[in-house]
Amino acid sequence: MPLYLTIIFIFFGSLLVATANAGELKQASFKNGVKLVVEEDHSAPVAMVQIWLKVGGRDEVPGKTGLAHVFEHMMFKGSKKLDAGEYSKRISAMGGNDNAFTSTDYTAYFETVPAARVAEVLGMEAERFAHLRLRDVDFQKEIRVIMEERRMRTEDDPNSRMFEELSAASLRLHPYRNPVIGWMQDLKALTINDVRAFYQQHYVPGNVIVVVVGDVDFEQVKNTVAKTFGKMKARPVDARFNPKEPESFGPKRIQVRLPAELPMLAVTIPLPVWQPGKNDTEVAALALATHILAGGRSARMTRELVDKQRKAFTASAGYDPTAMGLDLWYAYALLGPKQSPAAFEKALWLLLGDMAEQPVLASELAAAKRNMIAANVFAQDSLYLRAKEIGHLEVVGIGAANRDRWLDAIASIKPADIQQVVSQYLLPERSTTGVLLPVKKAATKTPKKKNKAEVKS
């Protein structure tokens, strides 16, 4: 059943759900640094509770990649009051679902529950946050689960592996060079002591943002948070690791040779991210340029490169203006048996060059704006996405209160703005190119060796 399949979505910078129809945001801050953001929606008796942490893959030290995600798994392994697995069972028994996710910039834990149970859920979240039981025996099992997760997501998927390598090659300093799941050798070396140290350092009230969207009353939620997260003792908060990536001095290139059926090519370029009030026009123009290239049915990459020039059978691009420090803009192509990476690459740069020289059509720009705004309305249909947008904007420092500015910025963009940012940023000399080259199937030997190496862990 499709319900059970995981689908990987690529966002075209559309995490910004902006105003259209969003309810009013109500916020509160507590003395210990905990922040609360609530959006009331009384259309159905359910609520989404999300606890966001200002800690993610970027906060790991070298040699310990994957730790933020490992830690997230350990949050389900029991606390002072609840046994391992008990947390999810209680949520389940109240008719809810819980889960969590980790990215480079944040970690978040979430529950969808009947609205009447929100206070209870916040109490449970606060209890495990403050009194996690971190046992080595649980860690030893969970780290094996996570290695299986890495094998499934990355090691056995040639496209993922290529992107992992490409990210690492694209950046010298910025933490987006490391995979959130962690490098396998780091996963093998992690210990329960690393997990405990991470907990002490990062799971402090000043790193917490509580987001609730749904059929709740702000004042009531505020009182509940005051009695739970708000009561925790204030502790020092570390500044986040957000280094300035050095400029590069020319194009970079890698090849990844793996057992695969067909080649893939991808290009990355570091781009600025949104700082409200400082670069609204620039970043909105980049988002619109990316949409014109890769969004909607009339996307230029599909129309020109796939349908007209036949250089690939799938081609797209993506940009997230809400990343931290920078975003790695990317474009990629899946190539058929008679299509060459070199020919696609040439055609891609011609397409980008044309966009720098010729203003986009007024009708094309209008359609891109309309689609980005419509996407924001459609996203209002899901409590999960609404809460996620709020949490995300808070955690990366943009601030959920700024979300309305985004549509204003989008609406104000002119063709010349797009020409300006494309000619300034989307340049070969700022890019890194990766090519997945299929290795013919002498492949059966490779995994055998890999397995042996992994058994040692």
């Binding site: 059943m1 319900l3 059970y4 995981t6 689908i7 990987i8 008796p45 359910v46 997230e72 798994h73 697995g85 999810s88 069972k89 389940s92 008719g95 679902n97 889960n99 969590a100 996710f101 990215s103 969808t112 009947p114 099992k141 689960v145 997760e149 499934m152 056995d156 496209n159 993922s160 992107f163 992992e164 694209s170 987006y176 959130v180 799941i181 695969a260 059926e261 067909l262 991808a266 049915r297 009339s298 796939v306 349908d307 997230d320 990343a323 790695l328 990317y330 899946l334 058929g336 009708s363 359609a367 309305v377 249909d381 999960y384 996405l385 059966t444 995994p447 055998k448 397995n451 992994e454």
Partner: protein, 468 residues
């Protein structure tokens, strides 16, 4: 994003069904003169309308040897029309932010539309034009076919795709469900434009079609808009939804596919219940206990939580017009596959022997009932549920009585279904993994399954999120 286990990913709004017998908004019904059944749930909180027109024209209607015909038809109908070539069509849709798509499942074929309320009329115009004025452009067909064949080749890199193709062939040899809807490199190569036209002429008809609608609209507003556009569309599908024989049950079959991966994907499979099976709800609860319920499920508990053998292990069944597949799936490092499969088989045998505690049974029911409201909390989900209800002729109170029906399931019923479905010897096995490990494992010892399949779209290079 990495989510814990295979819970659905973002975007699909989490499926839960709130515990509130959730005064499910009633489904309103109307029938157009030409026979199209219209089902509507009003939801006025977001200024948008979503709809899905579903017809019995899915991949089971593909001609023999031409798997992928319905999927290519879906591609063609949404790509261009007789009045607009593919560029003009794309520009027209994007100008009003009209999201129009078509998709072929096993039984059903659908055209879906999502629009802002203020673009409803142009949206309906577009849906109608794609449905009733196909363009049949030969050049576009050739391109689509070539790209589909390339995509099918690329997909061979994915263990989940290999397993689902092998599983369908194993369970449904010589049966209309015996192929993936998207087809294979070989079957796609055999398809001509004439095959698409034939399928269209036979099955894309109003009698037997259902239009499910959810959003900021009333039936009084909707019907005149539909009648104005669809009145000239007439006829009846050559074959109805229920014109299909049951597949013959098979047991103990095995199929291995060599792929140079580090993990082995193991799937155990057999036939499950049909959509209209009178025991549907007891089997539904049984599957939730077994491996459909995520972290609380028996398989998750034994294989992941206690032994750390997998990231994901789960079970599901696909209820179709006649029995579809019932699948248990996991992925683990190749050398652990035998061990993990043995654990799964033990869980199955235990449950078949009646070892299901009342506590566990109650917890599953509580979760299913409690999370019901969430299963319907977006227009997209409501449209999907109504299309299913309409196509399979389920009662219109299906949703409002859903929690009652789950609530009425007894432990004795679940145990009866466990003994009927979970006897390990009645299952078959597909494995996808490294050749050496496939060889070394003794025939009986090694099946397992996998976690969710990944979409072919590559993930974003950096900054992606991962779940628990």
């Amino acid at each position: 994003m990495m989510l814990r286990g295979y819970i659905i990913n973002l975007c699909l709004s989490l499926f839960s069904f709130g515990s509130l017998a959730m005064a499910a908004t009633p489904i309103q019904e109307a029938t157009l003169n030409n026979g199209v059944r219209v089902l509507l749930m009003e939801a006025h909180n977001v200024p948008m309308v979503a709809m899905k027109l579903v017809m019995p024209a899915g991949s089971r209607f593909d001609a023999e040897g031409k798997a992928g015909t319905a999927t290519l038809l879906a591609g063609m109908l949404s790509d261009h029309t007789a009045k607009h070539d593919f560029t003009a069509w794309a520009d027209l849709l994007d100008a009003d932010a009209i999201r129009l798509g078509a998709h072929a499942g096993r039984d059903g074929f659908n055209i879906s539309l999502t629009v802002l309320k203020d673009a409803l009329q142009p949206g309906l115009d577009a849906l109608t034009e794609s449905l009733l004025q196909p363009g049949w452009n030969t050049k576009r067909f050739a391109i689509m076919k070539q790209d589909s064949i390339a995509a099918a080749q690329k997909e061979k890199e994915e263990p989940g795709v290999q397993a689902s193709a092998a599983g369908a062939a194993l369970l449904f040899a010589n049966h209309p469900y015996g192929h993936r809807s998207s087809g294979s490199m070989e079957s796609l190569a055999r398809i001509d434009l004439a095959d698409l036209k034939t399928l269209y002429a036979r099955q894309i008809k109003p009698q037997g079609a259902v239009l499910a609608v959810s959003g900021d609209i009333t039936m009084a507003e909707l019907l005149p808009l539909l009648n104005a556009r669809l009145a000239h569309w007439t006829g009846k599908a050559a074959k109805g939804l229920n014109d299909i024989d049951k597949a013959k049950a098979v047991a103990g079959l095995q199929r291995d596919v060599a792929l140079p991966t580090s993990q082995m994907l193991v799937q155990l499979l057999r036939l499950g219940p049909a959509r209209n099976d009178s025991d549907f709800f007891p089997v539904f609860v049984l599957n939730h206990i077994l491996g459909g319920g995520g972290f609380g499920s028996r398989l998750m508990e034994e294989v992941r939580e206690k032994r750390g053998l997998v990231y994901g292990v789960y079970s599901y069944f696909i209820p179709l017009a006649v029995p579809g597949s019932f699948v248990i799936s996991l992925q683990t490092r190749a050398d652990q596959a035998g061990q993990a499969e043995a654990v799964v088989r033990q869980v199955m045998a235990d449950m078949a022997a009646g070892k299901i505690s009342n506590k566990q049974f109650k917890a599953s029911k509580e979760n299913l009932i409690g999370s019901f409201a969430q299963r319907m909390d977006s227009n997209r989900e409501r449209v999907g549920l109504m299309a299913m209800i309409g196509m399979y002729h389920l009662p219109l109170d299906y949703l409002s009585r859903w929690t009652d029906r789950v609530g009425a399931v007894t432990l004795a019923q679940v145990k009866t279904q466990a003994s009927k479905y979970l006897t390990p010897a009645q299952w078959n096995r597909v494995r996808v993994g490294p050749a050496a490990a496939l060889k070394s494992a003794p025939l009986k010892a090694t099946p397992q399954k996998t976690t969710p399949q990944k979409a072919i779209t590559p993930k974003k290079p950096v900054n992606h999120t991962i779940t628990h």
